[in-house]
Each structure stands twice: as C-alpha cells, then as structure tokens.
C-alpha cells in the first residue's frame, strides 16, 4: 500500500509542475528524442490522464467548468478532481490509472454528464475514446519480454487482440520456449490504463502516456 501512497505523492508533484510549467504540446512529442534531462523530466510529468472524450489538453482546460459532474457519474470512482496544488488545473478531473483506471463503460456516463463539452459528446463508442496510449516503458523489467508467461496486461485489455496483441518469438535462452511479447497498437489503444493498473511489477512497466502525434512523410509502408 506504500506504493499507492507514493503514487499519490508523485501525482501531487506532477500537478505542481504541470501548473507552473504548462509545456507546449510539440515539446511533449519531441520529448522522446531529446536528451536534455531536465526537459525529459518535465515532459514526462506534463501528461494528465483525462476522462474519456476529453478535448486536447489546452482546450479541455479552457472548456472544463470544474463542476465535478463526471466524477459523480463514474461508477468506479476512477475520475477524481485535482486539488489545490494543481495550479490552473485545480478542480479539473483526472485519472490515476495505477490506482483506478477508466473501466470504459459501454454508455460512457461521464461524457453524458458533462455540461460544458469539455468531454466531447461526439465520442459515443468506447473504441473512439483516446485518453492516451499505453507504452511498455521498461522492456528489461517486463516479465513477458523476459520469457515468463505473464501477459497480464494483454489479458486484461478491454480491447484484447486489437489494442494489445501477442507477438510470439523464439526464446533463444531456453531453446524450446516462446517469448510472448505484448505489443500495443497505437491506432486501437484508447488509453484507459487498465493495463497499467494490472501490471504485476512494483513499478508498472506499461503505462499510459500522451498519444504521440502522427508525423507525415512520403512513405506509404
């Protein structure tokens, strides 16, 4: 349970940083390529997991009237309100996936309850939700990638075989077994965070991050 406390603490810090820094989106996208430690750190902490249907972060912060209706509508109490340490984001709804992820209710009651349009009423199917994208951030600590039969994230994925699939490959270490690697598909993952919660490692090796923006080029494969 100390893990959960730590998580909360970390998130509070995150609110603080978020409030004071307000990073531009482009920087977040580029973050993976940058090597300057301070920027990476700020970047990693800039992302809030918002309820389903939330507009792009800037628009969301502008549109959300901090009424708390989505919090009341969530049957799993997954949605919570940012507290006083969140700066401009105070009173905005967010989700800590590791504690209680979005369960992706079929009828999306949080979106229905939103009076301001901060949660987009055009999102009526769970498949259309884009809260973020799950990423295996720590391959070395992923038990499945190490050849153990874990794949808990995969089996718990509400879009199993679509958002996460298993890519089997030969395990050269034993010579007779398969590494069953969970692979997240960005075009299908809704970012609910159920995988992040279910990961059996002390620190989840799969977490929901901001969905990277598509980058155009001329290649068609």
């Amino acid at each position: 349970m100390s893990g959960a406390e730590e998580e909360t603490k970390r998130v509070s810090r995150r609110h603080f940083l978020k409030g004071s820094l307000a990073l531009p989106l482009a920087l977040t996208v580029a973050g993976g390529l940058l090597t300057v430690p301070s920027l990476r750190r700020a970047d990693a902490r800039g992302f809030y997991l918002r309820p389903p249907g939330a507009l792009a972060e800037k628009c969301f912060l502008g549109a959300c009237i901090r009424c708390g209706k989505c919090v009341q509508a969530c049957p799993y109490r997954a949605i919570r309100l940012a507290e006083t340490d969140a700066g401009v984001a105070i009173g905005t709804p967010f989700i800590i996936a590791r504690e209680e992820p979005c369960q992706l209710c079929t009828d999306l009651p949080c979106i229905k309850s939103c009076p301001s349009g901060a949660l987009d009423k055009g999102v009526t199917e769970v498949e259309k939700v884009r809260m973020g994208t799950a990423v295996i951030i720590d391959r070395e600590n992923c038990l499945s990638i190490r050849g153990l039969r874990c794949e808990v994230c995969y089996r718990n994925c509400p879009l199993i075989d679509r958002a996460i699939t298993i890519e089997p490959r030969h395990n050269p270490r034993t010579g007779v077994h398969t590494i069953m690697e969970p692979v997240v598909h960005r075009d299908k993952c809704v970012g609910c965070g159920i995988c992040e919660k279910s990961c059996v490692r002390e620190q989840p090796v799969i977490v929901v991050q901001r969905t990277p923006l598509p980058q155009q080029d001329a290649y068609e494969f």
Binding site: G147, L148, H170, N171
Partner: protein
C-alpha cells in the same frame, strides 16, 4: 531434522554447481546471490501439474526469492506469473499458526496436544460406535507423496477402511479410468518432449495457454520453428488458446463424444487406419450404454465389457456420419472430414492433448477412450512426437493421488483393493495381515460428501484441499457439513478457507518448502525437495499430523521410520519395482531435476511401451502394451456411443454454464489470493456472456447479472470483452473466487465409471441484477 538440513545444504551446493555448469549467466547470478547470504535450493512449483522446477532463495530463515530453475528440463528457467510469485504465497498475513478448536460459534486457540487428543478421541469413538467406515480422509493431488502414502497406509492398513479420497477425483479420475480401461495402466505413454517433436496437435477441452502456460509456450515454439506445425483447438469457449491456434473448432457441449466417433467413422470408412498396428496391438470391446449420471445417492455402476470384432466396431461407427454429427455438434461436416484426414495423415506426427473438458464430463471415461481409439486406429501412439497426452492440473495428482493410490479403490502402483493378490502384496509391504485391508471400495469423493450429509460418515479429515468451495452442488454439502449430530470435521490448511470455516478443528499446516516433499507431474516425472524454512508459529507438516493421529490410535507401528521421508519412500518404492512403474532410489531424486518412471538401472523412460525407450519392451517387439495382461498385452478400442449431458439447457434454464480457471489464480485461490499482485491482475470471478445474448438480456459489459441454476444463484459482473469469449447460449465463470462460489450452481452428476463430476455442463438462466 538434522539429516534433512544437512542434505538440503548439500543439495543447494549441488544446485549452484549445476547452475554454474549449465549456464554462465545464471551461474553468475547464483554466486552473486550467495554473496548476499541467500542460499538456493531446488523444488518443483507448488501450482499446476506441469511441474516446473524452481530455485528457492532462503535468507535468515525466510524465502526471499524464487526463480525458474535453468537446469530443470520442464521449464529451463521459466515460470508463469503464479510461479513468479511463489515466494509470496506462504507469507499472507493470515497464515494459520495455531490449532483451533470450535467452541460454539467461535474458534479457540488450542495446543497441538489438545487438538490431537480431541481428534483421536472422535476417531476412536466413531469407530467404536459406528465402525471404521464412519471416519474418512479427504486429501489432495497437492499432497506430497509422503503425506498421501501415510494417509493411505493409516486408513487402509491401520484403521481398516477404504474411506480415503483425493480431490483428484474432481479433476483427474476420468483420465485414470480412461487409461485403465484402454491400457490397464495409469498415466501417459508420452512426455513433454512430444511438444517439441510432433507437428499436429489437437487440443480438446484444454485452455493450455492459461492453464499450462509454460507447456503452451513450448508448443508455440515448436510451431515457430516448423511451419508444418498445426494446432487445432476443439472447444466450447473461445480462449487464449483458441486465439493462438491455427484453427478453432467450436462444438456444442457434450458432442465431443460424437465428434470423436465421427473421426473414427471416417478413418474406418476410408480405410485410413494402420491395419498392421491394429492387428498386432488392438482388441475391440463394448460396454454398457445408458449408464446414468449418478445423481441419486448411493448410485452404483459396474460396466460389463464384451469383446467385439473390427467388423462389429465398424457397424457401431456407421451412424456417426459427418452429416449426422455435424447436426449434433454444430461443426461443419467438411471440417470433420478434414480433421479426420489430419489425424490419419501418414506424413504427420499427431498428438492429442486434453484436460478438464474431457475429464469433468458425465462420460469422461468414454471420451478418454474415444481419443485413444483414434490414436490406436492410426497407430499414432508410443512414438516420439506422436501421442495422446492427458495434462494434469495439480502438482502431484499423478505422483501422489494416482501413483500412491489415495482413492477408495486403489493401492499403490496401479493396484486395487478389489483384487486379492493386490491386497496381499500391499499387506506384506505394509506389515499387516491381508485381511486388514477391506476388499470393497466405499465412497468416491462426491459420494463421500453425500455420506457426510446423510450422516453415514461422522468424522471427516480434510488435508491440503478446499472441498467446501470446490465440490459441485456445493450448498448441499456445505449444509450437510454443519448438520451437527456426531459429525466432526477437521481441516488442515495454511490459511482460513471456505472449508476451515465449517471445521470443528482447524490444524495449521506447513506448506511446500516448509517441509521435505515429493511431487509427480503429468509426464511421470518425480521431483523431490528438501525442507528449506521452518513453518510459521506452531504450524506442522500434514505428514506429522497423520502419523500423530496414527500414534494416538495405536497404529504408530505403521510408521517405524527414523528419517521418515526417505525410509517411507524406499518402502513405497517396493510397490513400483518390476511393475513398469519403477521409481529410482530416494537418493537419486535428491540430485536429479526429476526422473520419469519407469526408472530402471538409473535410466528414466521417455516413451512407455516403446522399444528402445522402455526397458520392459524387448528388442523386436516394437510396441508392447505390456501392462494389459488381461487383454493379451493389447490396447482396447472401445465402442462408446454419444449420450447426452445430465442437464441441458431448456426453456426455464436456457444457458450452458461452464466453469474453469484463469492464468493468474489457481484452484480455489487460497494461495494466489494472498498475493496482492495476482489479486490486482485478476481479482474476482466474472461471468463471460456472448454479446448477442447480453443484448437480448439488455445487459452491458460491467453490469451485474444474476446467474441461477436449479441448485443455486449468484450475482456476477457481466464480461463481454474478456480473454475468454463465451459462445452463444453459453456462459463461463472461473471457480477460484471464494466470495463468488460458482460451484453452488454446478450439478453433482458424474461419470458412472470414474465418479468424476461434470463441472463443465449444467443449465442456468441469466437475469439483469
């Protein structure tokens, strides 16, 4: 104690040396770990029947780590997620550490002396008043060989009753009767090497991806290496296994009987069989039909096998045309034809693998027979890479329950109490008069709980299992247990369970490496381990508990050992020698990462009945079913018809209910449920429903749904997105959840030959709750 500790030290040194010799990387880890003060010892995993080897790291008297044993041939250093958390299963906060005695509605702490005195007095009283058949032991496929052997010896040779059964009756009994009726010897001819060597795998009622995770990983690797490999999954539910299979063939529940006969029909019709093999190695038989379902108390059945000719068998198969069976099973006739051809393809090495879908079946014995029929017709048996293989679900269902014979009718090494010669041999080894062992079997598991409910059994001791969550038609047997009167229930366990809550005495047990042990896995591999840590508080080994009762009942002479485990094993070993079930000397197992019996002259056997592998088969014999003396050393092809399930959906209860397991939790969840990570990964049972059925019922994913059978009712969360996809008209619920005991809904109909209940089929209705 001193001896076993010393041996443990020796063994861990050997383990480190072995690891160092076999793999540089892990060897280095070991050395590093040893520097950290961690001592590593070998043991088989505590969970399923795969028998993965693990290294257990001990520091300051506590298990601090486990890892897959790279030297273990079964898993070569890997584990599933349950095995990964082995170090935590013994350290739940609520471990039982003191004996408890019921005082009214309260359980009060007591000393071992008080508890054992009370138990002994209840046994004595009941035996004096109602005879030895009024006391019983319900044990487990998780018993170590020693625990099972001691219990069987005390009950059969000491107390003089056959009232001993393992929970394996609930999971493996049909596999046993399948083996016995077809080959006259229990357990498979093949081994896990077949997973590497074959190219065609039929899975029947087995969710290997979740229930035998490490073996499945091995099977898939075979396919990665060899593009010829095909995996065909026959099932009534789309599972993670189906997802990875080349083909998933959905069939209506119970129609596996018809499908296998249709496959045989095509093989015989088109003369795809191996005539030479049949002539040399096969006889044909038929048994009784319309054999009932065991729903009435004291149901009795005895088969009446009659020989038949190949032509008569051909006639028997006539009605099972692909067209007829297609209508019955829902499988297209064309698919049945294709499957039959794959089975018979001379260029293919064909294996069948099955688990509970076959065994927990009101015709479980028959369906086991029928899959052997196909392998016997095609001669695809007893060859490397070509075998039928029954997978097991408990770590020593084979080693203890089946090989030691802790069933009411069994004695060690394939012997039975009904046979005078067998009783004589057992009595001689046990040092008791032959008359001491009763010649009549009493109750198999379900009947045992019925007898407790009726009051025919007064005193019941439950060890290493949780029947008051795992029995079918649970409500009846839970109520029966607390009916009072002379009933007295003792439960030995490591945690409070749904069974300890019904007990009059709860005994705190030692588990796994808190004691010296021996398990036997599904491929006949016996694996030994030493005690590595002390059990917590006053918890004690079940073996000690049984011997302590024996001593107090005046049967202490049955256990005259100094180094109990070793001497007991050497005594048990005498049953196996010369029987084709030969075990190695105890010493050999302390060093090896398991050995597959028969072990003759220090050499294990990979393929039974096979020349060049099995020392009992002479040069030039090729294949010999040498255990089947009554059938002239031939295997039996059985004419077993399709017969319907005990209870099928109707207007009132329109859905099939199937129960089973998930990867993260094991059995009734008493161990895995204590691991927070596993609980987080899969916390509670849900009800898998087909989306179309759900729509009709106006149930959405995540809604509460009431599932009701004629026996019980339960509210569950509807799951429409899960890892398992229910077929239309079917629902599936896992049975591990102690707060949602689905077995209250299950019917206690069983296979009349094996006595194993059908947990896979009963009728339920669904309502939005």
């Amino acid at each position: 104690m001193a001896l076993s500790r010393r041996d443990f030290l020796k063994a861990s040194a050997a383990a480190a040396a072995l690891a160092a010799a076999t793999g540089g990387r892990l060897g280095a880890t070991d050395v590093h770990a040893a520097e950290g003060g961690i001592r590593w010892g070998k043991a088989p995993c505590r969970f399923c029947g795969t028998g993965c080897g693990v290294l257990v790291g001990v520091k300051d008297g506590r298990i601090v780590a486990t890892k897959g044993d790279p030297a273990a041939p079964v898993n070569k250093g890997l584990n599933c997620i349950k095995g990964y958390f082995l170090s935590k299963v013994l350290y739940g906060k609520d471990r039982l550490t003191k004996p408890l005695i019921r005082k009214g509605n309260k359980m009060v702490e007591a000393s071992w002396d008080e508890a054992m005195d009370l138990i002994a007095s209840k046994f004595r009283e009941s035996i004096a008043k109602h005879g030895p058949d009024s006391v019983a032991m319900f044990g487990s496929g998780q018993w170590t060989v020693f625990e099972g052997y001691a219990a069987a010896k005390l009950f059969k040779a000491g107390i003089g009753t056959n009232n001993i059964e393992p929970n394996a009756r609930f999971c493996m009994a049909s596999a046993v009767t399948g083996f016995m009726t077809t080959f006259n010897s229990d357990e498979p001819m093949g081994c896990y090497d077949d997973l590497d060597l074959g190219d065609t795998y039929f899975l029947w009622g087995a969710n290997m991806a979740e229930c035998h995770p490490v073996l499945f990983s091995r099977l898939i690797d075979n396919r990665l290496k060899n593009p010829k490999v095909k995996i065909i999954d026959f099932g009534t539910r789309f599972t993670r296994t189906s997802q990875m299979a080349d083909k998933y063939i959905r069939f209506n529940p119970q129609t596996d009987l018809a499908l296998l006969n249709a496959i045989a029909h095509i093989i015989v019709r088109d003369r795809l069989y191996d005539e030479n093999f049949i002539r040399k190695h096969v006889v044909f038989k038929k048994g009784k039909t319309n054999i009932g379902y065991g729903l009435e108390d004291k149901f009795k059945f005895a088969d009446d096998p009659k020989p038949m000719t190949f032509d008569e068998y051909r006639e028997f198969l006539k009605p099972y045309t692909p067209e007829y069976v297609s209508k019955l099973s829902g499988v297209p006739a064309k698919t049945i034809e294709e499957v039959a051809r794959l089975y018979a393809d001379k260029s293919r090495k064909v294996n069948s693998l099955w688990t509970m879908g076959f065994n927990q079946h009101v015709r479980g014995t028959w369906v086991n027979n029928l899959v052997y029929n196909v392998h016997l017709l095609t001669g695809k048996i007893c060859k490397p890479g070509e075998n039928p293989m029954s997978l097991t679900g408990q770590p020593s269902a084979c080693g203890t329950a089946r090989e030691v014979g802790t069933f009411t009718h069994r004695l060690p090494a394939d012997m039975v109490v009904m046979n005078e010669e067998h009783r004589k041999k057992a009595a001689e080894i046990w040092g008791v008069p032959a008359e001491k062992i009763p010649a009549k079997p009493t109750y198999h598991a379900t009947e045992m709980f019925r007898a407790l409910d009726r009051g025919d059994i007064k005193v019941l001791w439950v060890q290493v299992t949780n029947p008051f969550q795992s029995a079918p038609n649970l409500s009846r047997y839970r109520k029966g247990a607390r009916k009072g009167g002379d009933r007295f229930i003792i439960v030995s366990d490591i945690y409070p369970t749904r069974s300890t809550e019904l007990a009059d005495v709860v005994l705190p047990s030692a588990s796994w490496v808190e004691k010296e042990g021996f398990f036997g896995n599904a491929e006949r591999r016996g694996q030994q381990w030493f005690k590595m840590v002390e059990p917590p508080g006053e918890a004690r080994n079940d073996l000690w508990q049984t011997m302590e009762l024996a001593r107090r009942l005046g049967h202490g002479n049955l256990f005259p050992y100094k180094y109990v485990e070793k001497e007991m094993f050497e005594e048990y070993r005498k049953f196996t020698l010369g029987q084709g079930k030969d075990l190695a000397p105890y010493e050999a197992y302390t060093k090896a990462r398991g050995l597959r019996w028969p072990v003759v002259n220090g050499k294990e056997t990979l393929w039974r009945y096979t020349e060049g592998y099995d020392p009992y088969v002479k040069a030039g014999e090729g294949v010999k079913f040498y255990k089947n003396k009554p059938n002239d050393y031939k295997a039996v092809i059985w004419a077993r018809p399709y017969e319907p399930a005990a209870e099928a959906p109707d207007r009132q209860y329109p859905f099939w209910l199937c129960t089973g397991r998930v990867l993260e939790q094991w059995h009734t969840g008493t161990m895995t449920g204590r691991v927070p990570e596993l609980k987080r990964a899969y916390g509670g049972a849900v009800c898998e429903i087909h989306p179309e059925d759900a729509k009709r019922l106006k149930v959405k994913h995540g809604d509460k749904v009431r599932v009701t059978s004629r026996r019980g009712s339960i509210v569950l969360t509807a799951d429409l997105r899960g890892r398992g996809k229910a077929e239309k008209g079917n629902v599936f619920v896992a049975f591990f959840d102690e707060n949602k005991m689905i077995n209250e809904l299950c019917i206690d109909a069983y296979c009349p030959i094996s006595g194993e209940p059908d947990y896979k089929k009963c009728a339920v209705k669904l309502e939005k709750a």
